[in-house]
């Protein structure tokens, strides 16, 4: 399977502040990749580099084999772009904006656009600037679907949306992507939404990549164990296999890629008594917090 996006040795600084160094990742054709990270971890920086709005200090990103700093119009026509906050030309109404974009894209198909617009309770002459966030999101999504791109890059698509519109957005998007073998690269600050949408996950922390794998694989391999212990003075933070640990009084919350038996063996070897040892089932958001920490 071909890589639609390929970023190699990406390094970027804002002034002297390092955003990341030698970041590498790929997005395969037909997959939906979610980029997760805390605020300031470099999600928007990555999106800006992918769009060619930011020149990285070193390294390169390729989309359909072209450097994103010099995308040709043909390649740009194959990329659908959703700006954070569903920004669109707010001085237009839904007819005007459809007419405007249709002049740029050879594969323009307005059927999905009008299908979505029919669900909105807006008047034909209503300016986009007067619409709610949810309505704006549907306009932005409808325009992308009508463009019929091969790759969709979505920057925080859930921003400002209520649960109903978020669900509508995700369901439409996933259905569209899977039916047409489309590739999606997306960020969102609401991780439960990502769980319904993405196939692969890329989790970034300050300066580094913490995980990149198919979501199912990540959720199977990354585990949370809870137990109680009397030996709270043992320093477990330095153990390599412990990704994250929270100790509150005698309650321990431990995140790791190792198995239950491995952890129990370790605790026995170190003479750390434990009881009520359980593996806690996690959602993607729990796993994200487990991996990146609460702070």
């Amino acid at each position: 399977m071909n890589n639609v996006i390929e970023c190699n040795n990406l390094t970027h600084y804002y002034g002297k502040k390092l955003v990341y160094e030698n970041l590498n990742f790929q997005v395969k054709e037909g997959s939906i990749l979610g980029l997760l990270g805390k605020n300031g971890a470099g999600k928007t920086t990555t999106i800006n580099i992918l769009h060619g709005f930011l020149q990285p200090r070193s390294g390169e990103c390729l989309i359909f084999g072209e450097n994103t700093q010099h995308l040709t119009p043909d390649t740009k026509s194959r990329i659908g772009f959703l700006i954070e906050g569903h920004v669109q030309y707010a001085f237009m109404d839904i007819h005007q904006i459809e007419k405007f974009y249709s002049g740029f894209y050879p594969k323009w198909n307005n059927k999905p656009y009008w299908e979505l617009m029919s669900k909105l309770k807006v008047t034909p002459k209503q300016k986009i600037s007067t619409m709610s966030c949810g309505q704006k999101s549907q306009v932005a999504l409808g325009l992308i679907l009508a463009q019929d791109p091969d790759l969709l890059i979505l920057d925080d698509f859930s921003m400002g949306l209520d649960p109903g519109y978020r669900r509508l957005f995700i369901d439409y998007l996933r259905e569209y992507a899977k039916a047409g073998n489309k590739t999606i690269f997306t960020t969102s600050h609401i991780i439960q939404d990502m769980e319904r949408l993405i196939d692969d996950v890329l989790i970034m922390d300050y300066n580094r990549v913490l995980a990149q794998s198919p979501v199912n694989e990540f959720m199977t391999n990354f585990k949370q164990f809870n137990f109680e212990t009397d030996k709270t003075d043992v320093n477990l933070f330095k153990e390599d296999f412990i990704v994250n640990i929270d100790i509150i009084k005698n309650k321990v919350e431990l995140y790791t890629y190792k198995s239950e038996s491995f952890i129990k063996d370790f605790l026995n070897k170190k003479n750390i008594s434990y009881n009520n040892f359980i593996e806690t089932k996690m959602g993607l958001e729990d796993a994200f917090i487990g991996l990146t920490g609460k702070y």
Binding site: H51, F53, L54, K76, I83, Y89, F91, F100, F104
Partner: protein, 222 residues
């Protein structure tokens, strides 16, 4: 593609264009209401004498009109583009970034040309009605820098608006003020004759300054 660009730009500027051109037409009309007034109450020969030998510039009310139009069209066209960084949408369209900026700029220039042509035609026609050919010629030489200033103000305003860092905006603003003031130096009617060509070339020189801010935006410098 061109039709779509024109459509978008037209939606942004249409009302501003109509209202400002109307203001320009009213300003031009007002000049000749005053001219008629002076001719009626001071006698034509006395009024002509004042124009010819006392440097009375009957067209002075037109002075800032092209500048106002140029600035307003720039604001109407480019403020919506930088609001919420909407220019990203424009740069993402399947067309070369510089090409679309030049198309937008070209649209602005055509719109200004149309607006100025309407105002200028009224001014020229009525001037010919009231004054001798030589007087009209001198007046045209005098108002030409004001119209050129309208274009220069439009070009420099695009540079300032598209720049996202206020510090640089201020630098550009001060530079623009100094530059634009060249078009408004006091002079006798027709006095700008020797420099109008040079002013036109200067105006052409700043015409693509927008591309500089846009380049900085695309490279993430702002």
């Amino acid at each position: 593609m061109l039709k779509s660009v024109v459509f978008k730009e037209w939606l942004k500027v249409r009302w501003f264009l109509v209202i400002l051109t109307l203001i320009g037409v009213i300003a031009a009309g007002n000049i000749f209401l005053k001219v008629q007034h002076y001719i009626t109450f001071q006698e034509a020969n006395k009024y002509w004498y004042r124009i010819l030998f006392e440097n009375v510039q009957y067209f002075r009310y037109l002075k800032l009109v092209p500048l106002l139009i140029g600035l307003t069209i720039a604001v109407a066209q480019y403020i919506p583009e930088i609001t919420s960084r909407r220019i990203k949408l424009t740069f993402h369209l399947p067309i070369n970034e510089n090409k679309i900026l030049l198309l937008m700029l070209g649209f602005g220039v055509v719109i200004l040309l149309i607006s100025y042509a309407i105002i200028f035609s009224i001014f020229f026609g009525l001037s010919n009605h009231y004054f001798a050919k030589e007087m009209v010629q001198a007046a045209i030489i005098s108002v030409t820098p004001w119209f050129l200033a309208g274009f220069a103000a439009y070009f420099m305003a695009t540079l300032i608006i598209m720049e996202a860092i206020w510090k640089y905006r201020m630098v550009y603003f001060i530079t623009a003020c100094a530059f634009i003031s060249l078009y408004f130096e006091y002079s006798i009617a027709g006095g700008y004759g020797p420099v109008n060509l040079k002013l036109s070339l200067l105006t052409l020189l700043v015409s693509v300054s927008l591309l500089f801010s846009a380049y900085r935006f695309r490279k993430g410098e702002i």
